[in-house]
């Protein structure tokens, strides 16, 4: 018997082969992207030539020649643009750090408050969250700066808080500490005390795991932490000297000052971001099923330990990822400083320096890479922490 059927598969065209198509498509995409990039690059080159702008980073060594309202490191008008960049970066980091710390504390309090069985507290937290997260952060910054800070009285009529803090339209003046000779011994005592406390905690955990007997850590740690530094202060004297701000003429001298721009910016960003963090915290706590609480209580754990050993570790797993993106948002929102002229990265470098030098491409590229670097480092840090506390599943 003879089969007439054709046993070999009909030869498909090369063009319908998915693999070939995928390759072609990718090559095409890469060509388009490269061509677009080259087109933009070429246009930029011609435009720069026509305008007589010399590209390169040499301008960073030129003298800046303008004053800056707040600098964490020494600065004078003859310093370079490179130094201006560092100052802007430090100011951005300062706002971000203050904002992150403040928003985390406020956000956790509000998140827990919203879940409180107390009706009034719950409603207050809800009103806060729904109000502040629906108002643009820039508007909140404007409000605190133009409507609140700038309408404060002048230095002579400043609002006093305990003879040491003065709030006026030029900022918040506060006492500044400076170390005395006794500072070294004090820090030494403190370090020894912390090491001792850690050792006590370790020993108590070891004993608990071996014998099941509890030793309250605070019984050993608190006397150590209070006693040793206290002893150092008694023996060698006050480790810190406080210089309080004093009104001389029309302004205050001495102490530290928080400029009004910084106050408005940190207040607004803290208040705004706290509302979002509160919602993350709330959903994290709600994500821990009630059975966990019941199980912990039936094992005999008291309420505090239930919270500390069972609920919070599980809630944190849920809270950390969205918390990371809130931190990122806050760091990026700190660039809104440009709206009120706080000397941060954007307003100082991408604003003033760009206008003075005209090196648009370099300045914007540097600014964007700084924000990218900040974003990536925050998310890497939080990913590392997230991995540490994540549930290890089989």
């Amino acid at each position: 018997m003879q089969t007439t059927a054709n046993t070999s598969r009909p030869r498909a065209s090369v063009w319908t082969d998915p693999k070939v198509r995928a390759w072609l498509f990718q090559i095409l995409a890469v060509i388009v992207v490269v061509a677009l990039g080259w087109y933009l690059f070429d246009n930029t080159q011609t435009n720069l030539e026509k305008r007589g702008i010399i590209s390169g980073f040499a301008f960073l060594n030129n003298s800046a020649g303008f004053g800056i309202a707040q600098h964490l490191i020494d600065y004078s008008e003859s310093d370079t643009y490179g130094r201006v960049f560092v100052i802007g970066l430090l100011n951005t980091l300062l706002v971000s750090v203050i904002g992150i710390v403040g928003a985390t504390i406020l956000g956790f309090i509000l998140g827990v408050a919203r879940l409180s069985p107390n009706w009034l507290i719950g409603k207050l937290a809800t009103v806060y969250i729904e109000t502040f997260r629906n108002i643009p952060p820039l508007l909140q910054i404007f409000f605190w700066y133009f409507a609140v800070m700038l309408s404060l009285p002048g230095p002579r009529q400043s609002l006093e808080i305990g003879q040491a803090f003065f709030l006026n339209s030029r900022g918040l003046y506060m006492p500044a500490p400076s170390p005395t000779e006794a500072f070294v011994t004090f820090v030494g005592a403190l370090v020894v005390a912390i090491i001792g406390a850690v050792l006590v905690a370790r020993w108590s955990k070891k004993r608990f795991e071996a014998t099941g007997k509890l030793f309250p850590v605070s019984l050993g740690a608190v006397p150590l932490l209070l006693g040793l530094p206290g002893l150092a202060v008694l023996l060698t004297g006050n480790p810190l000297q406080w210089s309080t701000p004093e009104l001389t003429g029309f302004n205050f001298r001495g102490g530290w000052v928080m400029i009004p721009e910084l106050i408005a910016l940190t207040l607004a960003l803290t208040i705004y971001t706290a509302a979002f963090i509160a919602e993350n915290v709330r959903s994290g706590i709600l994500a821990v099923s009630h059975g966990q609480t019941e199980a912990a209580r039936s094992l005999g754990l008291p309420a505090g330990k239930t919270l500390r050993l069972v609920i919070i570790p599980q809630a944190l797993r849920v809270i950390i990822p969205p918390l990371t993106s809130q931190y990122l948002n806050l760091a990026k929102n700190s660039s809104l400083a440009a709206g009120i002229g706080y000397p941060d990265m954007v307003s100082l470098f991408a604003g003033t320096v760009l206008n003075q030098t005209g090196q648009a491409i370099e300045v914007i590229a540097i600014t964007m890479s700084v924000y990218l670097a900040i974003s990536i480092s925050i998310s890497m840090l939080m990913n590392w922490y997230n991995k540490r506390i994540a549930l290890i599943e089989r």
Binding site: F25, Q26, N43, N118, I135, L139, F142, F146, A338, L372
Partner: protein, 365 residues
């Protein structure tokens, strides 16, 4: 035989029912709770009465000039006098009917989309999306078919805010969907391009994007080709927002069970048909609340165009507060702006929650 008769039930203790019971359960259940309640009540007492006093009781409502504001409270006369500027910016007064008409057309045109029984909704919706932008451009900008030109430098106020937000979302949505598909693609080169694009825009603040589009875009384009300020801002906003939309859509794509892809492939559907007919309709339905939330974020972010000198609602208000004839009106102005933004954002967030409940079907196990 002795007959047992039940005595009537005693009423529940007075302290566990009614107002007293509620108070005891919710406010004074323990000494700690009592303390919290007292603290919260003190806070409310500290904030609410002065606020009401300032905003309503002591406020001035009628008048035309600064001199009419005599009370200690808010001077709402300022907002009344400048209201049209806050809404339309510098749009010529006699042409403002065009802005109103555009808004009414949007409301009337979009209304059928919210009626559940409406037949052929998708066709109507697509048609609306194609026709309306052209109509809106003609009405707002003019310059042809008998309407005089109003250049975008005269646009402002709430109208500009709405234009930026709606053009931003309309442009970012298709781009975002393509990026999300690219990020989920099997082809490594496409994936790398899309991931780089998305992560770049998500890593930088919108301000630097706006700075870039205002100072660098003119350098990128060939000589002679230039956009006006609004167009540049819109390009920046669309690119920025598309990265966020892409991540939202990716969430939806990942939520679709693999069986759906396999079933579509087994039916012999190619990539685009599989996506267009099977995957995207399901995925987009899942992420509608997420898209609305992105839109809320975009709406709040539109206020940043102040940095590059566009007169959106916030900038109009800021300019009005610096008017020498109305000095010291900053609080009133910003409170009004806050109220305006709050109404929009709160309304949209409620709508997104409503959608989330309504669309919560399928894929739940």
């Amino acid at each position: 035989m002795q007959v047992h008769t039940f005595k009537p039930d005693l009423p529940p203790p007075l302290l566990s029912v009614g107002v007293l019971g509620w108070l005891r359960a919710n406010l004074f259940s323990s000494w700690f709770n009592t303390l919290l309640t007292l603290f919260a009540a003190y806070l409310v007492w500290l904030i609410v009465p002065p606020l009401l006093q300032w905003a309503f009781l002591d406020a001035d409502w009628v008048g035309t000039t600064r001199a009419d504001c005599t009370g200690d409270g808010a001077c709402w006369v300022f907002v009344q006098q400048r209201f049209s500027q806050f809404m339309y910016g510098f749009y010529p007064t006699e042409l403002r009917w065009r802005v109103d008409l555009t808004l009414w057309l949007a409301v009337i045109g979009a209304a059928p989309l919210f009626i559940p029984q409406m037949p052929r909704k998708a066709v109507y919706g697509l048609g609306f999306l194609v026709v309306y932008p052209l109509l809106a451009y003609w009405l707002l900008h003019g310059g042809f078919f008998g309407l005089s030109t109003v250049s975008t430098s005269q646009w402002g106020g709430l109208m500009l805010t709405l234009v930026i937000a709606s053009v931003g979302i309309a442009g970012a949505l298709p781009l975002g969907i393509v990026l999300a598909l690219g990020r989920r693609s099997d082809m490594p080169a496409i994936r790398v391009i899309c991931v780089t694009f998305i992560e770049f825009w998500r890593g930088v603040p919108l301000i630097t994007v706006l700075f870039m589009s205002s100072v660098m875009l003119p350098l990128f384009l060939p000589e002679g080709l230039s956009f006006d300020k609004l167009m540049r801002a819109l390009i920046g906003v669309i690119l920025f927002q598309s990265a966020y939309i892409a991540e939202v859509v990716r969430g939806g794509l990942q939520a679709i069970p693999k069986g759906q892809y396999e079933a579509a492939a087994a039916m012999g559907l190619g990539y685009w048909r599989m996506m267009g007919l099977v995957i995207l309709p399901q995925a987009l339905k899942l992420v509608i609340p997420g898209i609305v939330n992105t839109f809320i974020a975009l709406f709040k972010d539109t206020s940043l165009v102040i940095i590059i000198g566009l007169f959106d609602v916030l900038n109009s208000i800021k300019q009005a507060t610096t008017d020498p004839a109305w000095l010291g009106m900053a609080t009133e102005g910003y409170v009004f702006a806050a109220l305006l933004f709050w109404i929009f954002c709160f309304g949209m967030s409620r709508y997104s929650m409503h959608l989330e409940r309504k669309l919560d079907t399928g894929h739940k196990r």
